[in-house]
């Protein structure tokens, strides 16, 4: 049984659905939900996501039936049909995606009755039930992907050996998703593949529609998009692999080798790509050698956030930067099996560092785990403690950082104290951005 969440770092499945559809090219979300659901999630999908903006047709522009008491009592299907028809008339899109809120799901409106009326029309209309009680943002991402795979991706038995699909980097909830997709795509291109990222730069809906031709679905996550990839496999016979989100040299090496393995790429070629990437990476990474050693910039660190980021950040800090990330707080909703998988991603560090991994959704507990892990000062003369410390987490974790007097960088959702455009932290180049951002916090506050 689930419990309450103190300062949640995600919105509901409806929010996840809006967020996912919002950034899909030429796709228009249509909300069938109570008055307020659209407006409610709008700020979380904008200001809390590095000020990503309203998007093409979301924010206040998001079409919504604004269901109220009358429809709750008498049913809202008629109103939905009217809303879909008028949305197509008014809003320029290639795909219209109907999603629902709690109230509509609970009164049992059947959106598919309304959607059916638009079958065969010029506009493509699909839909899914996404009421917020179904789960958090990631659930919405998962539902939207599954629906797209079932109802939008065209069947294609012929497979293109040079084409792969990329999933698991969750748009908006990973505030750096667009930059990250570009960076991961770059790595796969270096391995000799063409890559659909769907939500990244230069993507089209046709890429999605034709994605059943891919040789492999690569889910860059052990938790997000996995169920959807299973659906893709069932419906379109495209196998999938899951691989941890990579940041930095050590994470990216593992990533590239795993992909090489899955695609049957010659080992020597993968190693050559890694060597080239390393050469560029360390030509920049070495620049900080002076400041790192002169100012003793090695830190104890805590990473707080989702299961994609925490494992990637911890490995980068431990194995690339040579820090001591002793504690990782994973804030997702996970079942026991998922927790085991996630825990496994914190193993096998080259540095031999071991992080304590805790699963907790409540923001106030972060401080308690820090105190438990490093001990709490009682004014004693000789004391180990979380010092010098650093917190990599969300804007919510600024409070505990301030309380403990340690520097903090916001890299996980919500990110309301930074503006994020095309920045990404994935792979080799992304890790250089991350190094810049982390060390800038330290050198800027001396």
């Amino acid at each position: 049984m689930s419990k309450f969440v103190e300062r949640p770092r995600y919105v509901c499945s409806l929010g996840g659905a809006v967020g996912t559809i919002k950034v899909l090219p030429r796709t228009v979300p249509i909300l069938h939900a109570a008055t307020g659901c659209g407006g409610n999630v709008a700020t979380a999908l904008n200001q809390a996501a590095g000020y990503m903006g309203s998007g093409y047709c979301a924010g206040q522009a998001l079409p919504s039936t604004n269901t109220s008491e009358r429809e709750i009592v008498f049913g809202g299907e008629e109103r939905l049909s009217e809303q879909i028809a008028n949305t197509i008339k008014l809003v320029d899109g290639d795909l219209y995606f109907v999603i629902t809120g709690c109230m509509v799901d609970m009164i049992g409106d059947n959106i598919h009755n309304s959607i059916k009326q638009f079958n065969g029309g010029k506009a493509r209309v699909i839909g899914a039930e996404t009421g917020g009680f179904r789960g958090n943002y990631y659930k919405g991402y998962e539902i939207v992907l599954k629906t797209l795979f079932q109802d939008f991706v065209e069947k294609n038995p012929a497979k293109d050996k040079g084409l792969v699909n990329l999933w698991g980097v969750v748009p908006i909830q990973d505030v750096f998703w667009k930059g990250n997709l570009t960076l991961i795509k770059d790595l796969l291109v270096k391995l000799g593949y063409r890559v659909n990222t769907f939500f990244g730069e230069g993507e089209t809906l046709e890429d999605l529609q034709n994605s059943a031709a891919a040789a492999l679905n690569i889910v860059v996550s052990d938790t997000f998009g996995v169920e959807a990839a299973q659906v893709f496999e069932e419906v379109h016979s495209v196998p999938y692999i899951t691989v941890p989100f990579p940041i930095g040299d050590h994470g990216s090496q593992r990533f590239l080798r795993a992909i090489g393995n899955a695609l049957g790429i010659e080992k020597a070629f993968v190693e050559k790509v890694i060597k080239e990437e390393q050469a560029r990476y360390y030509s920049y990474f070495e620049r900080i050698a002076d400041v790192y050693s002169d100012l003793d910039l090695q830190r104890y660190a805590v990473v707080v956030g989702d299961s994609n980021y925490t494992q990637a950040l911890a490995r980068f800090l431990a194995d690339d930067l040579g820090w001591l990330p002793g504690l990782a707080v994973v804030t997702d909703f996970l079942d026991d099996e998922q927790k085991d998988t996630v825990r496994g991603q914190f193993n096998g560090y080259e540095s031999g560092i071991e992080a304590e991994v805790v699963f907790d959704t409540d923001a106030s507990n972060v401080g308690k785990y820090i105190a438990r892990h490093w001990g709490q000062s009682r004014g004693q003369r000789y004391f180990e403690g979380f010092n010098p410390g650093f917190i990599l987490g969300s804007a919510i974790d600024r409070d505990i950082a301030e309380k403990l007097g340690v520097p903090q960088l916001t890299v996980t959702y919500p990110i309301s104290n930074r503006v994020v455009l095309d920045r990404g932290y994935a792979g080799y180049s992304g890790a250089l951005r991350l190094t810049e951002d982390i060390l800038s916090v330290l050198v800027g506050n001396r």
Partner: protein, 507 residues
């Protein structure tokens, strides 16, 4: 007015006949509003808006030393996620020891939808009390528990015996109303029921010190409650306090950024002064019927004319009109001198406004007084308070009768059509919908902001100064219009902007 005995407040569609869909001239809306035939208007295409719960947070997340519990699935109250970590600054302007936002979501899931969510709420309340030891725990009820029939009031009554904090229930279920401003009634309803009023034993001391009693009565006779809004800046607030202090009045500021205890004796005041009827009518009416505190609700002190009215209304109540008039004369004289260069620059520039009815009508007057022409207004909703202010505006500025008025919460598609039609030099809009205007190449001046001054005499100068700055370089919006397009099909811009408004004249 007496709804306080009820667990939940009425919705504004019913209580005020508030309208949320209209398009026409200012003269039209005024006539139709008087006939009371606007509240049933609707749209056949609509875009997202916030709900009561979203807007309730605008007040509730400012209350000091409290914890908010949003009793809902995990997504409700999502604006808190966006404010977490960055809103402490405004809190600290009032309270150096501010905590930042503290809230809990009860995370109702598929199981709770069937079995009920009361146990999760119970555990959240007990946790909030134990973890934070706050003065107040504010419980916001949302759509889902309302539909599944969670009885939060009985639960709260029971838990109130066990926890130190006062528990404030706020019934703000989104589906109940499309008039988002019903939120203010929901919040004040909770505050009036649980925070206002002193316990019997405290109220009647055994020994009455007559001198103390006289002093107290005198103090109360010179005390006004100024009801602030969370969208105003601290310095706006301080500016208004200063004006009232110059009339020898004590000022108590409520409700935003107040401590829960501040409400307790809030009825010990000679007068309640609202600065926004949309915000406060429910509160001041109840304070009058329950505690006999009279109120002033006419206008917001934005622009010279309305600041004068606001101040004179208060002064008249205390028999200090003459003193107030002297103050006004000297303030206005000094202000007009300062405004001269800005008036020269702004003369003849055109504006379109969007936002709450009270703000847009008074800001229209302000812009007009700077020499600008107001082409049109977009109000979130319209009710008798807007009607009154609009009458005054049309009486004072006859040409405003012809200005276009569009009522709708958000609905940026209508805004896009109107702006492409009227092409104003500047759009003065409510935050949330301004980016769309910017993408149409129209520079934007936000209708309000917590970091800037808008109110009183200083506010007029500040608006003139910043508006001039906004118009000095409009390159950003000029760049956007060349490279970005809005999602609407091209033929929408040729259609009637109000084509999707259904006027229900049958009722």
């Amino acid at each position: 007015m007496d709804y306080i005995k009820e667990k939940t407040p009425p919705i504004r569609e019913e209580r005020l006949g508030a309208c949320m869909a209209f398009g026409g001239s200012c003269c039209d809306i005024s006539n139709q509003s008087k006939k009371g035939c606007l509240f049933n208007n609707n749209r056949t295409f609509s875009q997202s808006q916030g709900c009561q719960l979203t807007l309730s947070l605008a007040i509730l997340n400012t209350i000091r030393d409290s914890v908010i519990i949003v009793h809902s699935p995990i997504g409700c109250g999502a604006n808190l996620v966006a404010q977490a970590g960055v809103s402490k600054g405004y809190q600290k302007l009032r309270d150096p020891n501010a905590f930042g936002l503290r809230w809990i979501n009860t995370n109702l899931d598929e199981v709770d939808v069937i079995n009920g969510g009361e146990e999760k709420l119970r555990s959240a309340i007990l946790y909030a009390d134990r973890e934070y030891r706050p003065s107040a725990i504010i419980v916001m009820n949302s759509c889902v528990p309302a539909l599944i029939g969670d009885d939060i009031d009985t639960l709260i009554e029971e838990l109130q015996q066990q926890v130190a904090a006062r528990i404030v229930p706020v019934h703000c279920e989104g589906f109940k109303t499309r008039i988002q401003a019903t939120a203010y009634d929901a919040v004040y309803h909770g505050i009036l029921r649980t925070l206002v009023g002193i316990e019997e034993e405290e109220a009647d001391p055994v020994i009455i010190d007559e001198l103390e009693e006289l002093k107290k009565r005198y103090r109360i006779s010179r005390t006004v409650n100024v009801l602030n809004v969370s969208s105003m800046s601290r310095s706006d607030e301080q500016g208004l306090v200063k004006l009232l202090q110059s009339l020898d009045l004590n000022v108590r500021i409520l409700p935003c950024y107040a401590h829960p205890d501040d409400f307790e004796d809030s009825f010990e005041a000679a007068l309640n002064v609202s600065i926004c009827a949309t915000h406060d009518d429910y509160f001041v009416e109840h304070m009058k019927s329950k505690y006999g505190v009279p109120f002033i609700l006419r206008t917001i002190p934005i622009g010279i004319a309305n600041t004068n009215k606001w101040l004179l209304d208060i002064a008249r109540f205390f028999g200090m009109e003459e003193q107030a008039q002297k103050l006004i004369d000297s303030e206005v004289r000094e202000l007009n001198q300062a405004l001269a260069p800005y008036r020269q620059f702004l003369q003849g520039k055109t504006a379109f406004l969007g936002g709450g009815e009270i703000r847009i009508i008074t800001t229209a007057e302000l812009l007009h007084s700077l020499g600008m022409e107001v082409l049109g207004l977009r109000g979130f909703h319209f009710d008798r308070y807007g009607e009154g202010l609009l009458e005054e505006l049309m009486a004072e500025i006859p040409e405003s009768e012809k200005a276009i008025i569009n009522i709708g919460t958000g609905q940026p598609f209508e805004q896009a059509n109107l702006l492409s039609r009227y092409k104003p030099d500047v759009f003065v809009g409510h935050p949330g919908g301004n980016g769309w205007a910017n993408k149409q190449g129209i520079p934007v001046f936000p209708l309000f902001g917590q970091a800037y001054d808008y109110m009183g005499y200083v506010g007029v100068y500040e608006v003139a100064r910043r508006l001039t700055r906004t118009l000095k370089n409009t390159s950003y919006s000029q760049n956007l219009v060349k490279h970005v397009r809005l999602p609407y099909r091209q033929d929408w811009y040729a259609e009637d902007p109000f084509a999707y408004i259904k006027q229900d004249l049958a009722l």
